[in-house]
């Protein structure tokens, strides 16, 4: 296993950095303040293949490997966590399952516009009574000849506000004793799908997270992704890849925090010298840098396993767990280093602090990740 990035991966990182600094950096503060994504940037990202990162070129994607994908998400998130979230969720848990489990017709109809950013995707799993406990979902899909009728409420749908394609996770065949789950591709403009108001969030404020309600929403059977009852398998397989993406997003936040904290420590003078010369601050920065490096290695290893076609459930869960906790700690310490100034909006660290917390919760809470890891250890 290579421990150093390849030439290609270095160029990719640099290319994304250039774009992020030129086009996204000037608007991150405004996005956080207003909670609105500028659509021109979404369009630009689409043309540059950011919405089809791992999708093969024949469907309009970039065809990148998982490590390169992780690098892209990290670099975007380093500049704007809300965009990083959008890209990670769209790629890992929306476009990717359509590619993996969709038939050719579905790929042509849905995957191609998704890969080009013309339709942003969501993965609707969570409900008011079903967060970590996925099997408690109450959305049902009832077969009626060659359509399904969907009823239910999905909440906290990342990208919901701007999505064109939604993967809805519903239960089918409820008469059976064992619950069966099935995934449906439901277009936003389909009658019976209603989006609720965008949530007012603590952080990741540019991402239009909202509830999606399904009221007698009729969906053609052709929109069913995979077979009836295959939903859980799809979800679990999808989530593993999703963890790599979301871990990279957390890493981007942690790295950004390290960047600004280092800069601040070098230029802020107190007691006649820069903060950097105080042992307490050096300890903070050393810890931060070490943990960021650790998170990156965990992420890249799980991505590497994925690229090799090897099992990586445990590693991906570890990466997500660790990176999210590193992000929270890095931003907390980073804000402390900035002192009073860090508490104001004049510096970006307070935004990173607010953004980081979500990483420990979504895409499987830290508690769920630990469950996954423990179960994996059990069977070893």
């Amino acid at each position: 296993m290579r421990l150093e990035p390849t030439m290609k991966q270095m160029v990719i990182r640099r290319t994304v950095r250039k774009f992020a600094e030129a086009r996204i950096s000037p608007v991150t503060e405004e996005i956080d303040r207003t909670g609105v994504f500028p659509m021109e940037i979404i369009e630009e990202l689409g043309k540059l293949h950011y919405f089809g990162l791992e999708i093969p070129a024949e469907y309009g994607g970039a065809g990148l490997d998982a490590v390169s994908y992780a690098i892209v998400v990290e670099e975007i998130s380093r500049t704007c966590a809300a965009f990083g979230l959008c890209i990670s969720v769209h790629n890992s848990v929306s476009a990717n399952p359509v590619y993996q489990f969709g038939n050719e017709a579905q790929r042509k109809t849905f995957l191609v516009p998704m890969a080009q950013g013309q339709k942003i995707g969501t993965f609707c799993l969570t409900e008011p009574n079903a967060g970590s406990d996925v099997s408690s979902i109450e959305t049902v899909a009832v077969r009626d000849k060659d359509t399904y009728v969907l009823n239910g409420n999905k909440i906290f749908v990342t990208n919901g506000g701007l999505s064109g394609v939604n993967l809805i996770f519903a239960s089918t065949n409820t008469s059976h004793k064992k619950k069966e789950f099935t995934v449906f591709i439901v277009e936003s403009k389909r009658e019976g799908l209603e989006k609720g108001p965008v949530e007012e969030l603590m952080g990741m404020r540019g991402n239009p997270v909202c509830p999606i309600a399904l009221n007698d929403c009729r969906v053609p059977a052709d929109n069913r992704l995979g077979a009836e009852g295959q939903g859980l398998k799809i979800a679990l397989s999808t989530l593993a890849g999703g963890r790599i993406g979301i871990a990279s997003q957390a890493l981007g936040i942690a790295q950004a925090s390290l960047d600004v904290s280092l800069k601040y420590a070098k230029e802020r003078y107190q007691f006649g010298k820069p903060l950097y010369e105080f042992g307490a601050i050096q300890n903070y920065l050393a810890n931060m840098a070490t943990r960021v490096e650790g998170a990156r290695l965990l992420i890249h290893r799980s991505a590497y396993l994925r690229d090799q076609g090897l099992a990586h459930t445990k590693e991906a869960a570890m990466a997500k767990l660790y990176a999210s906790e590193v992000a929270v700690e890095a931003t907390r310490i980073g804000l402390q280093i900035h002192g009073g100034y860090g508490y104001t909006k004049a510096y970006p660290i307070e935004r990173y602090y607010r953004d980081a917390k979500a990483c420990e919760i979504y895409e499987g809470t830290s508690e769920v990740q630990r469950m996954v890891i423990a179960r994996s250890l059990e069977s070893e």
Binding site: E29, Y264, E267, G272, A346
Partner: protein, 336 residues
């Protein structure tokens, strides 16, 4: 010219006379002064080379500012500074007269013409030198230039090739005062003046300057936390205007309502690379300095001698900004 040529070259220092924008552009005069210093060490003389049409007036000026001789090639074909034509003529003259050192100002013309001459003569050229000295041991010209974007300083020598060529940015050296009693030779060499017509100047007009655009301003005056009132900030605006530039501000100044967000310089604001940046009452926080580090020359005014801004200033003035600027504005208003 190579190896053996070194010994057969004269000990003279030649300066290319770039007389365009004569009153603003003093670089030739500055190089004459430096040239005299170098020639003295070598035991040679300073000659200025002037090409153009109706250029005799400049010859007299150059003598008055210290040239021992001025070589003049005056001809209608030389009216525009045409690179290929000038290259051929200058290279041929240098070939005949063999100066040891040949200097030019790093003006836009100098930058594109001098490398071509150096190539034609197959000799070495260093650009944007910030220092030129004669090494006492080997009599070589030590050419100090920044490289790698200013992160490194290189001391360069041209050991076996002649002439040793270098360009220098205006403002590095100081000219010597005009002396109307100075005496010098004016030489009119024989040279073939055929024009190279592959590049033709079709049209040339003075450029319209863009008003109010911070990133394009040649001069930027910046106010920081130390500028404590709107009235004081107004002084900076006036200074900027008198110098043909724009005013900028740091984050604390913007927060204090002294300037709008569009004037903000730094990490979260604009990045500027003016010819001159005067930064007033700014301590030198990195959030700010990343926006100005590309400036050619930085002058800092601050009351605190320990302020980090002085580490990145070419000239630092420790004192009360208001008093200093009041006096500066008084003088400038009379002149401009």
């Amino acid at each position: 010219m190579k190896r053996k040529e070194r010994d057969s070259s004269s000990k003279d220092v030649w300066i290319f006379g770039d007389y365009r924008n004569y009153f603003q552009n003093r670089v030739t005069l500055q190089l004459i002064a430096k040239g005299r210093d170098l020639a003295r060490n070598l035991g040679g003389k300073v000659t200025v080379l002037v090409l153009g049409e109706q250029v005799h007036q400049y010859a007299m000026e150059y003598v008055a500012h210290g040239a021992d001789a001025v070589m003049v090639v005056d001809h209608p074909n030389l009216k525009d500074f045409q690179v290929e034509t000038y290259t051929r003529i200058v290279a041929s003259l240098v070939g005949n007269y063999r100066p040891d050192i040949f200097l030019a100002g790093a003006t836009p013309f100098g930058r594109e013409f001098f490398p071509r001459v150096a190539k034609r003569l197959k000799t070495g050229l260093s650009t944007d030198c910030i220092a030129l000295e004669i090494d006492p041991e080997n009599q070589l010209l030590l050419q100090t230039t920044p490289s790698f974007g200013g992160e490194l300083l290189a001391e360069v020598i041209t050991q076996n090739h002649r002439p040793q060529m270098a360009t220098v940015h205006p403002g590095v050296f100081e000219e010597q005062p005009h002396d109307h009693q100075a005496i010098g030779r004016i030489i009119y060499p024989e040279v073939d003046i055929a024009r190279d017509d592959r590049v033709q100047l079709v049209r040339s007009r003075p450029e319209q300057s863009k008003k109010g655009h911070l990133e394009d301003a040649p001069v930027v005056v910046v106010g920081g936390r130390g500028v404590s009132s709107k009235e004081q900030f107004q002084m900076l605006s006036e200074l900027a205007e008198l110098l043909g530039g724009e005013v900028g501000a740091t984050r604390p100044a913007v927060l204090a309502g002294l300037a709008g967000e569009e004037r903000l310089l730094g990490q979260t604001g604009k990045k500027v690379k003016p010819k001159l940046l005067i930064t007033v009452g700014t301590s030198g926080a990195l959030q700010y300095t990343t926006g100005i580090q590309g400036a050619e020359t930085i002058i800092a005014i601050n009351r605190d001698a320990q302020a980090p801004i002085f580490k990145m200033a070419d000239l630092g003035l420790v004192g009360d900004a208001r008093s200093i600027l009041t006096l500066v504005l008084e003088k400038l208003r009379k002149r401009i």
